[in-house]
Amino acid sequence: MRRDPAPSRLAYRLERLWLRPLVRRAVRTGLPLVVAGAAAVWWASDPARVQTLRETAQEMRRTVEERPEFMVHLMAIDGASAELSRAVRETVPVDFPLSSFDLDLEAMRAEIETIDAVASAHLRIKPGGTLQVEIVEREPALIWRTVEGLMLVDAEGHPIAAAAARADWPELPLIAGEGANDAAAQALALFEAARPLSDRLRGLQRMGERRWDVVLTRGQRILLPEARPVAALERLIALDEARDLLDRDLTHVDLRLPGRPTLRLTADAMAELVRIRSLDTVGD
């Protein structure tokens, strides 16, 4: 008769042990993990092996990075004048060809935007290995005379570049005085308001970094108040149109106190005035 395949006591016990979920999980996942961990620790105990691994990994990384698909060959600069693009190339010197993984576009952008003449820069790598730099230049809106010399300033008052001579930029209005560029927007508004006086206007001078003086030809000055200077100037222009105020013999129109505009006459005019007044009193 065939023997029954009865399990031995040990086999039976082991089978029952194996059916315990905890034992099962420990052997199935825990044991491989422990073995793998131990092997990794033993392997890493030799620094030479780790070094070799690191180098191999770097090598592999380099071979991928230096594939022709990732190489950048030239830099194209859009939206900048010739000298600005030269300045940009000097600021971010890149020796091509170079892998695109080695380019830090964000840092390059920050670097380019430190150039005064650059309002904003946009960098990207175009397919075909071109580093495209799109630059928005600052537009000079004012010319600023300082102690050091002439400076071009954009509409926000940001200095752009030094100017060699006033005559190079005849169309730009002139401002002067310390801190004049900080109030560039106000200056532009004043120039707009002073358009009727444009043939006599020489420029604006910032006084004590708080208010403007309008400087006209013949040494005349209009002292504008700190608050609402544009309105004051428009009032004065209206007065001038009605009474030809500025054509008269005076040096300063003081509008600093809004309720009380004050005129300062030249010495001759003052003497003349005194004389006329005395005639009146004598006549009486």
Binding site: M1, D4, A6, P7, Y12, E15, R16
Partner: protein
């Protein structure tokens, strides 16, 4: 008696533990085969009631997730006589069932058919102190049953209250909450040989399993093979096993009598083996393939090659007619049934309102048995198969597995037994702390 009470309570506790864990094994230690089923208890209500599926007597609360059978060794007449062999067979069955289920089982509920079961009807009566019956009164009346002398080296396997009566009203299932002056109880006590129980417990312990319950196979095959009205109106289940034929009588859904005849299918096989001079396994094959108990003219002409491997051509080419085979089998089957008839007569089976007899067990598959049985046992004989339970493989659905399936039902819905009730305080040892605590609890 107290010792048994304690061990039975311990088993009941173990069964509760197993239920909580959700997995329990069923072990049917038979003479021909050892079957092991692994049950998983999901708790009730997994099937919605509106789909026409009721609780099905608790069957829906569990599911068979592992089943294995192995040829039994070291068991004779349903009793273990070679412990090591039986232990190995149990290990085989348990391991295979565990493997199929994929879970480890620690608790096992076992049944066996032999060990000379003896039934006693017990009667107890108490006067009710408080006119309403409490649970303690039930315990008291059960304790008041006068226990007969069950003889030396015997143990109580089942002690089930089967009937309660209050004053003149009898046939009560549950007397709790009813009023009256006197409470009476009938209890069915089933005793078996101590040695058989101890051997089985030892084998199971050697397999690293905890014994969570013991049942007589007569009882459990009765609950699985008898249908509800047979259990209610009176019926007998005859489980023709390998080494022993066990019979149980049910009425009002309670077993009232159980006995076993120490002849079974293996004796039929042995007769064939001796009569035809063939080895046991050939005899077993002849019995199962060609066997029968009613010979017809056709069977004289049907020749069966019985074979052999001695090398002697004459010996190895022997043939036998089916009628001869039937002629060998029939007297033994008749003997079994005559013995069953005797036991039923002794138990007073003819006084029951219905006398349905259900034949089940592996031996009941002999063709023509129902015809022979109705001549010997009476007209109301049918062949029974166990109930269908969820997840039971087709191979384990035959009548040979009646007691395994019954054991599943027994595990899911155990019958209240005597030891499930609190022991009355006056039965406890006089100086025990428990007695003091009980007295305190009863009086406040």
């Amino acid at each position: 008696m107290t010792d048994l009470y304690q061990s039975q309570r311990a088993m009941r506790r173990m069964r509760k533990q197993a239920m909580d864990r959700g997995v329990v094994a069923i072990l049917d230690v038979g003479t021909a085969k050892i079957a092991c089923l692994v049950l998983r208890f999901d708790g009730p209500g997994r099937l919605p009631a509106h789909e026409g599926v009721g609780s099905l007597a608790g069957q829906s609360s569990f599911r068979v997730i592992g089943a294995a059978t192995t040829r039994s060794r070291g068991v004779q007449f349903g009793e273990i006589h070679a412990m090591q062999e039986t232990e190995r067979a149990i290990r085989t069955a348990v391991q295979a069932a565990q493997k199929m289920a994929g879970v480890r089982v620690d608790h096992v509920i076992a049944c066996f058919s032999g060990a000379r079961p003896r039934s006693y009807g017990l009667e107890g009566r108490i006067e009710l102190t408080d006119s309403v019956v409490q649970e303690a009164d039930v315990a008291r009346v059960l304790a008041a049953c006068d226990v007969p002398d069950i003889g030396p080296h015997r143990e109580v396997l089942h002690a089930q209250p089967v009937n309660f009566a209050i004053d003149h009203r009898t046939g009560l299932m549950d007397p709790r909450g009813q009023t009256g002056n006197a409470l009476m109880a009938d209890m069915h006590l089933l005793t078996v040989e101590e040695q058989a129980v101890q051997n089985l417990a030892y084998c199971i312990k050697r397999c690293d399993l905890e014994l969570a319950g013991l049942a007589s196979s007569a009882y459990v095959s009765g609950i699985s093979a008898l249908v509800e009205d047979e259990q209610e109106l009176g019926g007998a289940c005859v489980d023709i096993g390998g080494g022993a034929t066990s019979l149980s009588i049910f009425i009002k859904k309670h077993m009232i009598y159980a006995d076993s005849v120490r002849i079974g299918g293996e004796h039929v096989t042995a007769d064939i083996s001796k009569g035809l001079q063939v080895p046991m396994h050939v005899a077993e094959r002849l019995k199962t393939v060609h066997g029968g108990v009613v010979a017809t003219g056709m069977d004289d002409r049907e020749m069966i090659e019985i074979g052999g491997d001695t090398g002697d051509w004459e010996h190895d080419r022997r043939t036998v007619s089916r009628a001869e085979l039937i002629g060998i089998m029939r007297p033994r089957v008749e003997e079994i049934l005559e013995d069953v008839r005797q036991r039923l007569d002794a138990a007073g089976f003819e006084h029951l309102p219905a006398q349905q007899i259900v034949l089940t067990g592996g031996g009941s598959q002999i063709p023509g048995l129902d015809g022979l049985a109705s001549r010997i046992l009476g007209q109301q004989v049918r062949l029974g198969r166990p109930l269908r339970v969820q997840g039971l493989p087709q191979a384990a659905a035959g009548p040979a597995f009646a007691s395994s399936v019954g054991l599943c039902l027994f595990a899911a819905h155990p019958q209240d037994e005597w030891w499930d009730f609190e022991m009355p305080a006056d039965r406890l040892p006089a100086r025990s702390l428990k007695r003091a605590i009980r007295w305190f609890r009863d009086n406040w």
